[in-house]
């Protein structure tokens, strides 16, 4: 399947998710004071993946309803949100009016962003381009958008959780999917999209080949108090307390 077809399919998935969940959830997410990562709300204050964001030019690749961008804007970052799904950006614009917090929103896929070279200090993605776009295409694009020394910070599902994912249903306590099957994954379920999940070795290869130096891989343990996510319920909380459900990569574009 072509990249354009994958993108169309993923836009359909997110248009539906917007109608079912992300639109009604947006106000609560935008209102939050803490920066949290992922399904199990790993606090940035504990993880420290982003560093200081005040006065920095930040692009969020796959921003969805742009709550993550909003958190960064509240901390003094000059933010641009990029997303290919019009319905998600529509929600983001409505939230901007409600919260009187305004920043640029651009309808585009992260593989081809209509913005100039070397115009950002930080590129972030929380389950955005980081899993919904082809790393061989979006990571070079992030490198292009960043200034020398700029940071790239993104959250994905962990490799182990993908290896334990059946085609449909919840993550299991056993390996089901081969390492060789990672890369482009087309989930067969109804209303499912196309994701990209790499092995750790492949992610290191793609990052280093695109001029990034790796600074950290934060593998996240869900806290004891964790309960199953209300919408993204494919990872049982008990699983996420024993094995990493999510991981955050931190890399820096070489000077």
């Amino acid at each position: 399947m072509s990249h354009a077809e994958d993108t169309r399919r993923n836009v359909d998935v997110w248009t539906k998710a917007n109608a079912e969940y992300t639109d009604r959830k947006a106000r609560e997410s935008w209102a939050k004071e803490e920066i949290d990562w992922g399904m199990f709300s790993g606090p940035e204050s504990e993880i420290g993946a982003l560093g200081e964001v005040a006065d920095k030019d930040v692009v969020e690749l796959g921003c969805g309803t742009a709550y993550f961008s909003a958190w960064l804007a509240k901390r003094g970052a000059r933010v641009t949100g990029v997303d290919p799904t019009p319905a998600q950006l529509e929600t983001a614009r409505r939230m901007q009016h409600e919260f009187d917090l305004h920043f640029a929103l651009i309808e585009a896929g992260a593989e081809d962003v209509p913005l100039p070279d070397a115009s950002f200090d930080l590129a972030v993605s929380e389950y955005g381009a980081s899993i919904w776009a082809d790393p061989e295409r979006w990571i070079p694009e992030a490198a292009r958008l960043l200034r020398p020394g700029g940071g790239l910070v993104f959250l994905c599902n962990s490799t182990l959780s993908i290896l334990c994912s059946p085609d449909e249903g919840k993550v299991e306590e056993r390996l089901l999917r081969s390492h060789a099957d990672l890369g482009r994954i087309e989930w067969p379920g109804e209303d499912e999209g196309v994701n990209y999940h790499l092995t750790h070795g492949e992610m290191i290869r793609v990052l280093t080949q695109n001029g990034f130096q790796i600074e950290a891989l934060h593998e996240r343990l869900a806290p004891e108090s964790t309960t199953e996510h209300e919408y993204y319920d494919f990872i049982p909380a008990a699983w996420a307390r024993r094995w990493p459900a999510e991981e955050i990569w931190v890399a820096r574009r070489s000077v």
């Binding site: 182990l160 290896l163 306590e173 081969s178 390492h179 094995w243």
Partner: protein
């Protein structure tokens, strides 16, 4: 010779002194090869290209065993030093060096406290050597100290997933997740102490010691691969589907 070996290092020394003869006999034909090969599946260095050209380089092998690797690197023009925690292993190394007609320095010490000068090597490496049997929180800083600027640290170890998937009763890997992932570090079966870290913790440790991560190679055995380490067919099939080993490459900046 200074010897700041930890209690674990002394126990592992006794373990290897005790088991070295049996180990070298059992794996003799599998690991005494005409070209350098990596790990449980003996995948050729010429395929993986981990170390690159070693000619003219000062190379330290941490946990050299009978020095099969260092002997082959010496033949390629490297200036190796083989370090091992076990005197009995080094006796086997001397025997194989004499047979091969090569000579280089062997050092009897734990890799946790190497009695060699700062910045005296271009390559520090091992193949399931000290990075399995000594504490990585000591080895990574030691490697940083021993390497010259621009030098390469490279080593193979079992992957963290093998530890998670090992059935503690049979000691065979399975698809089932048996152990927790978090808190991996030291595994003491009462006989020998082994070490393993999560992927992210390796990266943190490299960066904290000034290394730049260059690559993580996860070698995969061929469909007919055999090993004297993983002998069961079920183990080979596991290793065909999931990474059984990690080879990390990290560089000390110029």
């Amino acid at each position: 010779m200074p010897d700041a070996a930890s209690e674990e290092a002394l126990r592992n020394r006794r373990y290897w002194d005790r088991t070295s003869d049996e180990y070298q006999e059992r794996h003799r034909d599998f690991i005494n090869q005409p070209e350098p090969r990596w790990g449980v599946w003996q995948i050729p260095e010429s395929e993986l290209n981990v170390l690159g050209d070693v000619a003219g380089k000062d190379v330290l092998e941490l946990g050299c065993g009978a020095a099969q690797w260092s002997i082959l690197l010496a033949k390629q023009g490297a200036r190796p030093v083989g370090l091992d925690n076990s005197e009995r292993q080094l006796e086997h190394a001397r025997r194989l060096m004499a047979e091969a007609g090569v000579d280089f320095r062997l050092v009897h010490a734990s890799a946790e406290a190497v009695p060699l000068s700062d910045e005296s090597f271009d390559v520090v490496f091992c193949d399931h050597g000290a990075f399995t049997f000594a504490d990585p929180y000591k080895l990574v800083p030691e490697s940083a100290r021993l390497l010259r600027p621009g030098g390469l640290l490279a080593f193979s170890i079992s992957s963290p997933f093998t530890v998670v998937c090992e059935n503690p009763e049979t000691e065979l890997v399975e698809a089932r997740l048996h152990r927790d992932y978090f808190g991996l570090h030291k595994f003491d079966d009462g006989d020998v102490v082994e070490y393993e870290l999560p992927y992210g913790e390796w990266i943190r440790l490299f960066c904290a010691n000034g290394f730049v991560v260059e690559a993580l190679i996860e070698p995969r055995p061929g469909p007919d691969a055999k090993s004297t380490y993983w002998e069961e067919e079920s183990e080979r099939e596991w290793a065909r589907r999931w990474p059984s080993e990690s080879i990390w490459k990290a560089r000390k900046p110029e």
